[in-house]
Amino acid sequence: MSALVEAQDLVKHFPVSRKIGQVLRGEHPAVKAVDGVSFAIGRGENVGILGESGCGKTTLGRLLLRLITPTAGEIRFDGQPLAEHSGDALLSFRRRAQLVFQNPFDALNPRFTMATSLAEPLRNTRVPAKEHQDRIRTAMRRVHLPDVETYADKYPHQLSGGQLQRVVLARALVVEPEFIVADEPVSMLDVSVRAGILNVMKEIGEQMGLAAAYISHDLALVRYVCERTLTMYCGVVVEDGPTEEVVHRPQHPYTQALVKAVPVPHVHQSREPLPIKGGVPDARNPLSGCRFRDRCPYAFQRCAEEVPPLREIGRGHRAACHLLD
């Protein structure tokens, strides 16, 4: 099976304003949001991209959809380099790859009815008008809002958060994409409706053979929809493996801490202090060697000297830590 999306040594730096000394020395400080990431997503595969705020996961998602251009590295979609697309090829890519927004309350134009919002991607990708009705009906059925007529003339403020997020999802699905990027798709929603949205996402993934990248900081949510999980830390991937492996036998010390940090809904649970200290690292000046070493309880000499490579440690399981050498 060839991969649908392949990222090779992907880098995205955002320049920051320079001080006079930096200008004179010819330095170009930048936030290294994504700093050398390689992975592939297979057709129909759901991959979770896990990490704290500031780790570069949202930037990675935007790169995958070519909403921003990489500083270096390459993304291939269905074997074709994304950077080379233009005109019709780009339009076709826009149809095949879609974004699901984080905040359903902001994602829809408040002056558009649902019917207008849902038809917009179809118009943008030049789907013939006579197909619109059918496409919208199918998409709405997929997100369990079968009663299209009830919603067609409604404006965003007339719907609840859960209904809105379903419409946002349907809007990504009307163009029948092969790949979606969902950035924290349920973080703005109430718990009671989250479960419904997650169930819908899982279901459409299976029905449509959709490949997806789910970006989240919550391993419990990622686990529910994704068979594979990538953990990012400060712009790089530190672990990549089957989700159940990552949940039960996390190999990288950072992933181990993330797993421990997730509270569970039972009174009887571990309340040991987390093994890691400190906060999100400075993405302008990542540490030499392993970027996690200042928070890592196991760091030793070598971690400062050598960058740990992402190495195979099990079937389909990779991690970047010298301890695993």
Partner: protein, 339 residues
């Protein structure tokens, strides 16, 4: 004696569309040294209730009835000046976006000192020393007192907000969604700080949250609110393991659980009712898969076991309902009904 007793509290908002009964007859108690979680969906009245205790309510809100007894004294009957004297010193409130409420143009230490000087009557030097103490207490290096808020991460600002709330040694701290905007690792660190401080200072805490896992991790007792009323209350141990109200059952099942193998998540279909015109009977009935005819009348909050109360006509059959509530198809039929 409980430190806080809320009796039949009603808080209404006057809106152009009518009167919204955001809190409509809520009762619960907080024992000294207890951490109580107040949970529910958005719009169930938990923030309104939390804000009514220190009486920091928006203008459109008015208390329509009930009592809030703090150490036996009815806060609602206090003249404004006496109430003001209680704030910070006895009751501290950490609003939802506290971490964003620090003034960006003043150094954090100065903002802390301001509270200590204005409210606590300290002189500048004592206030500075106390600020350093508070910083140490929430685990921030005291050297950072001279930083500006933008130099702090979200988690650190949230800790500053907690430190500020503790500045004048209150007995009761009310924190509205203190960890909602935070990442899991930072969330855990902030919760651990709260727990350590609670034990050290024997505080009583009311924690408003929508996250059952946070309640399970931190709280001793839980009050589940639905549509302005208390649906169920009791010790965390008891309520989370053996919920007696279908809404609590639903909330527990809607949560992904990392510790167990994941079955299908079970959503609660539908949405909470409008508080302008809530259902006359049980307010959860329109979304409840176990609704019976009797539910057209409001169920009283009934004592089930010591310290455990639930407002459901069918709580006697709770054991059987719990099993049915764990299945998706039980709730799906409601989906069809409310749609």
């Amino acid at each position: 004696m409980p430190i806080l007793e809320i009796e039949d509290l009603c808080v209404h908002y006057v809106t152009p569309q009518g009167v919204a009964r955001a809190v409509d007859g809520a009762s619960f108690v907080v024992e000294p040294g207890q951490i109580v979680g107040l949970v529910g969906e958005s719009g169930c009245g938990k923030t309104t209730l939390a804000r009514a205790i220190p009486r920091v309510m928006p203008k459109s809100a008015r208390v329509a009835g009930g009592r809030i007894l703090f150490e036996g004294e009815d806060l609602l009957a206090l003249p404004a000046r006496r109430m003001n004297a209680h704030r910070w010193k006895k009751i501290a409130f950490i609003p939802q976006s506290a971490m964003n409420s620090l003034d960006p143009v003043y150094r954090v230490g100065r903002q802390m000192s301001e509270v200590l000087i204005e409210r606590g009557g300290m002189d500048k030097r004592t206030a500075r020393a106390r600020s350093a103490e508070l910083f140490a207490m929430v685990g921030i290096e005291t050297g950072r007192l001279d930083d500006y808020p933008h130099q702090f991460s979200g988690g650190m600002r949230q800790r500053v907000a907690i430190a500020l709330a503790l500045a004048l040694k209150p007995k009761l701290v009310i924190a509205d969604e203190p960890v909602t905007a935070l990442d899991v690792v930072v969330q855990r660190q902030v919760l651990d700080v709260l727990r350590a401080l609670q034990a050290e200072l024997s505080l009583s805490v009311i924690l408003v949250t929508h996250d059952i896992s946070v309640v399970a991790y931190l709280c001793d007792a839980v009050v589940v609110m639905y549509a302005g009323q208390v649906a169920e209350s009791g010790s965390c141990d008891d309520v989370l393991a053996r919920p007696d109200h279908p809404y609590t059952m639903g909330l527990c099942n809607a949560f992904p659980d990392l510790a167990r193998s994941q079955g299908k998540l079970v959503p609660i279909e539908g949405a909470p009712p409008s508080l302008l015109d809530p259902p006359r009977g049980c307010r959860f009935a329109p979304r409840c898969p176990f609704r019976v005819e009797r539910c057209d009348e409001p169920p009283p909050l009934t004592r089930m076991r010591p310290g455990h109360r639930a407002a459901c006509w069918r709580s006697g059959e709770a054991a059987a309902l719990r099993i049915r509530a764990s299945r998706t198809d039980t709730w799906e039929q409601i989906g069809a009904r409310v749609a």
